[in-house]
């Protein structure tokens, strides 16, 4: 069972939930930019939540399904089509061999995740399939997908019993997601250890002025355009750990939010941290799309994260129950 790349996209890679535990070797976690979309696209198929998927950027690759396959696409809306018919997102669908998937138009969001039943049959590096393009390791030979790549999927025994259908059967349920991406113009953060280095005026600007993501941003960091910030104190910091969502204050007065491919350590002041529950929303924000930061309490961030994790598991459970009705018992 396999997928073939008919035409390569601009930056499509294999990503899972990240490669944690190897900072001692300076190996960064990487992984999907939008962990909600990744995990839900797996949940829809009954996969393990952390299974690797193809992370698509626009213009995205074209794929040929070489044998019957259960797939799902979640995250950004790139006007996906299967055999020239609209392909609904956030739903599982069964596609017969010979089906072709294309993406014609960037409608909303920046990253889509294409999952297959069973996941991809690739060799993990340090326990993960995430592609690290910098050191060319993990995923598909450590690189972005190219034309004629063949992605084998892991074998699975279950085959759904479906009503009569043509090339494609779309399952009659979808995973909710609006609650994760609503209010894209508002990104919650909690204070970083050097928050108080900001001048009072800059603190005010940080919380009330509009910022936007610079188009030069990538999987490593989002460079933010906005009111330059000033500091009451600014001393040279010893390098220490940083994380996905850390908002660093650069010497120029600009801000940089670290994303999935961030380094393990950094020496810029940590002004704040985008809360984990809002990272999927941030990952899908377009360059030049204005947004504001809103400060919340740590306890609230923790509560939102825990509740999101519970929601993901509830959805995964419901998907399994629904899928069971389509399998031969």
């Amino acid at each position: 069972m396999s997928l073939r790349v008919l035409k390569a996209g601009i930056f499509d890679t294999i990503q899972d939930n990240g490669r944690t535990g190897f900072s001692k070797w300076g190996v960064n976690p990487g992984g999907a930019m939008d962990r909600y979309a990744l995990r839900i696209s797996n949940a829809l198929l009954g996969n393990s939540l952390e299974e690797a998927a193809i992370e698509l950027h626009f213009p995205a690759s074209q794929f040929l399904i070489e044998s019957d396959l259960l797939i799902s696409i979640c995250g950004a809306d790139f006007s996906a089509e299967i055999n020239a018919q609209p392909l609904p997102l956030w739903k599982p669908l069964w596609a017969r061999a010979g089906s072709v998937i294309t993406f014609s138009n960037k409608k909303q969001g920046n990253r889509a995740y294409l999952s297959v039943l069973g996941g991809f049959d690739l060799k993990p590096w340090l326990g993960s399939l995430s592609t690290n393009t910098k050191i060319e390791a993990g995923g598909m030979e450590g690189r972005i997908l190219k034309k004629d790549d063949i992605l084998e999927t892991n074998a699975f025994n279950l085959k759904p019993i479906l009503p009569q259908h043509d090339q494609v059967f779309v399952f009659p349920w979808y995973a909710s997601h609006h609650f994760v991406y609503q209010d894209p113009e508002q990104i919650f953060f909690i204070e970083g250890n050097e928050w108080d280095w900001l001048s009072d005026e800059s603190k005010f600007h940080f919380e009330h002025k509009v910022f936007e993501i610079d188009p030069s941003s990538d999987r490593m960091a989002f460079h933010l355009n906005g009111e330059p910030l000033f500091y009451k104190t600014r001393t040279e910091l010893l390098s220490s750990a940083v994380s996905f969502g850390t908002i660093q204050g650069l010497p120029s007065g600009k801000l940089m939010t670290l994303m999935a491919d961030h380094q393990t350590t950094g020496g810029y002041p940590k002004i704040g941290h985008v809360i984990s529950a809002h990272l999927p929303k941030l990952a899908q924000l377009n360059a030049r799309q204005p947004f504001k930061f809103k400060k919340i309490k740590f306890e609230e961030a923790e509560k939102m994260l825990f509740s999101l994790e519970q929601d993901i598991r509830t959805i995964a459970g419901a998907c399994k129950v629904n899928l069971r009705n389509f399998y031969n018992q």
């Binding site: 190996v27 390791a137 909690i190 750990a241 740590f298």
Partner: protein, 237 residues
């Protein structure tokens, strides 16, 4: 050493810092704490990030709370960090895990040696000899996979980073930044003053342990000729 501070690094990580004034003893304490945590792990512990004078626990909040039936994940991690500080022995400063690294200090590898020598008014021979004279401690690995931050170099050769970083420094390049010395494991942009190049591969993703060095190791450089450099490369291909 008694004072430390603990702060949240976002909602999934927590850092214990021994302060912003670096001294090698603090780094030994950090290594000792890391060993203690590795021996006393908990469900939901994802990673331990050590740096010069700080240690960060990265954790999965959901696992911490559900696996241990813990109401307050952050409080739990905080008390674990405190225990690590209190219960870890002070690591000894002996030459632990000494690694010898050959370096060719000749042109075209020693891009910034002349600059350093003119600033410090010393000869290139003196610069190289001083760089080889000391045994360095690996304080942390960061910036790039396998990049070691080591110190301290002799004050006579300590040099600030370049004002304008190079867009590409070749893998194996040996550099100085302030009182630190380091080696670029892969081709990368960078601002360190480059004084030579090693044929040793510092990061090889094909290996089971891909990084040549880890924090806590000690390192001594020794000088080799260009001929020996090439021979080493050929032998170890």
């Amino acid at each position: 050493m008694s004072a430390y501070s603990i702060f949240q690094l976002g909602d999934c990580a927590m850092t214990l810092s021994l302060g912003n004034a670096f001294n090698p003893t603090d780094n030994l304490k950090i290594q000792a704490m890391k060993q203690w945590i590795e021996a006393n792990t908990f469900q939901g512990l994802l990673d331990i990030v050590t740096a010069y004078s700080s240690l960060t626990i990265v954790y999965d909040l959901y696992s911490v709370r559900t696996a241990g039936n813990i109401q307050n994940g952050a409080e739990f991690v905080k008390s674990h960090l405190q225990s690590a500080f209190e219960n870890s022995e002070k690591a000894d400063a002996t030459e632990r895990n000494l690694k010898m690294i050959p370096v060719c200090y000749e042109a075209p590898f020693n891009l910034d040696s002349e600059f350093i020598c003119s600033q410090k008014n010393i000869s290139i021979e003196k610069l190289n000899a001083l760089h080889c004279a000391k045994t360095y401690q690996v304080y942390m690995i960061g910036f790039l996979p396998g990049f070691p931050y080591m110190g301290e170099v002799d004050q006579l050769i300590a040099s600030p980073r370049k004002d304008k970083p190079r867009t590409r420094i070749e893998a194996g390049s040996v550099g100085i930044a302030g009182i630190q010395t380091g080696v670029y494991p892969i081709d990368s942009p960078g601002g360190w003053q480059i004084i030579g190049k090693t044929p040793v591969v510092l990061f090889d993703e094909e290996k089971e342990i891909p990084a040549f060095l880890e924090a806590g190791d000690t390192v001594k450089f020794y000088q080799i000729s260009k001929l020996a450099f090439e021979a080493y490369k050929t032998e170890n291909q």
